[in-house]
Amino acid sequence: MGSEILLQIRELNKTFDGFRAISNLNYELRLGELSAIIGPNGAGKTTFFNLITGYHRSDSGQILFNGKNITGFPPHLISNLGIARAFQVINIYPTLTTYENVRQAVLSDQKRTLDIFTLASRLGRQETMEILQSCGISGHANVISGTLSQGDKKRLELAIALGNKPKLLMLDEPTAGMSGEESKETMELVNTLNREKNLSIVFTEHDMSVVFGYARRITVLHQGEIIADGTPEEVRGNETAQRVYLGEEA
């Protein structure tokens, strides 16, 4: 698949007052990979995302992006390096219009947010419209994003992440709360982004049809440790993963 390594995690640890969310985890992601991270609730998926994007500081271990050590960096520096994130719980700008939501990410990417003099309406129109259209929400460009439907909000979540023109896109349950048809559309978009723009994407998901339908690599996380990692076929055959999922062992 991809050539050189984009993201490297070495011996990552994180405990929340006693509870070991992530225990010395090693992980590598190559350029252009479309990989999924699955695991039961509380396996540490979201904490894993939080550590990489700088929302939490890891207790120990290293995170390297493009060979650069970004452990302990604040979220905005990590994002500027090219890691974009879409959130599990809707995390948009409800009083701004859909267009303004995405444009905000575009402006940040173009380093224009400190520009006091040029009117925002003159900036980033082309890129914003492209992203809105690709995410299929250009119809609501001037609608206040708070009034969108749940599915549209989820798409806006993705669009905002794309606004940053990331090298690595991290999606936290992109199809949660979506109808079958909507989640298919979203995953088609994710797929085309990965293929055409060679954008490496990692996403967490509970819906196994989506995971096995699209991901080309699956990592199974359980109690903060990786218990299986490989192509969908290898993971399906792996008994430890099955045991965890089929619930012999709590």
Partner: protein, 426 residues
Amino acid sequence: MMHMRGLDRVLVIGLFLSLLLLPFPVKGAEPYNLGVVLEFTGTGALYSRHSYQGIELAVEEINKEGGFLGKHPIKLFSRDSQSKPDVGVREAKDLILREKVKGIIGTQSSNIALAVEEVCYEYKIIHVIANSNAEAMTVSNYSPYTYQIVPNTYMQATATAVSIAKNVKSKGWKTYDTIGSNYEYPHSTINTVVEHLKKTSPEFKLAKQYWPKLGETEFSAYVTSIIGDKPDFVYACVPGSDGFALFRQGNSYGLFKNVFYASGATFLTEMMEMKDELPRGIVTVLRAPFFANMNNPMMANLVKKYQAKFNQYPDDFVPMQYDAVYVLKQAIEKAGSIEPENVKNAMKGMTVNTTRGSLSFRKIDNMVNCPSYTGIIADDPKYPFPILRDMVVVSGEESWRPESEVLQLRDKADLSKKRRPEELKF
């Protein structure tokens, strides 16, 4: 995100609303509009309430004879400055521009009086001050339109210093402390006393100075500290309700028993309000106590009228405010017109008779040579509240700042930017 859709209506209605509210200017009228700016809210509220009673009484009497010059009935306009200078300024402007007042009787606290003085100067309106006695009004911030008929801080402090100096000699005191609320009036009063004591009795050393914040209600820390210093004498200038708290807490610590105490800010109002809570045997200085001038017919008449109307004795402020209206009356009679410009010229260096006898304005600073009354607080069977015993009356000429010093201070303050040159020549 500019949702303008509904706003067109708010704009149009907003503009009409503000237009309707504006009253149309009223044609000039015959009566003499007299403005009063006092602090009806804030720490000076009690003094202002009594002062206004004094003014009302005088206006009633004068209006009975048809008003100024017998034909201009006085119309009173009172405004509350809320103890804030910027509100005082706005109210003064409101009185001058909207109510067309020709004279303003000044405010209680000095910072507001100074601000109102500037407004009166700009619009050339007569400004009589009968409460606030900051010296800045007539010295460093002198204005030809402002007349002061209350003994200023320098005069009161000198009078106190004169009586203290006598005790220093007789009782052989060595050290003293001072305590004063941390704003201009106590600062200038205490500084004057300290300067005077340095000149008259150099061996009398100043040990420590305390400056509690304005509005302080908790003086125990100060009282214990003063008791700790063990001074022979304490000079205090803590006005208003802060002074009440200091007396009560001083009493509970027994401060006044073992230290000779003089207060520069205990007026007749405090003596009437606190009655038994007020410690006896402390020295204070009063401005216009009625009991010291009962032989003056004007004061006797005022006391009778005031008791009839408000069934209580008048405090220091009532006679002074009463005088303010009468001084204005005599100036108008001398000028023969109610126009402020002529009244101003007539009032210069004029001799007026007041509840405190006949007094005259000093040309250089429009300050009247009113006496200060110092004495020791003691009970008196005639009155339900303590008054002064072995009272010393220090006349105006003895206590006011010599003319040379006044001119010196005024040059230092450099009024050239604020006042026209011809007004500064005497």
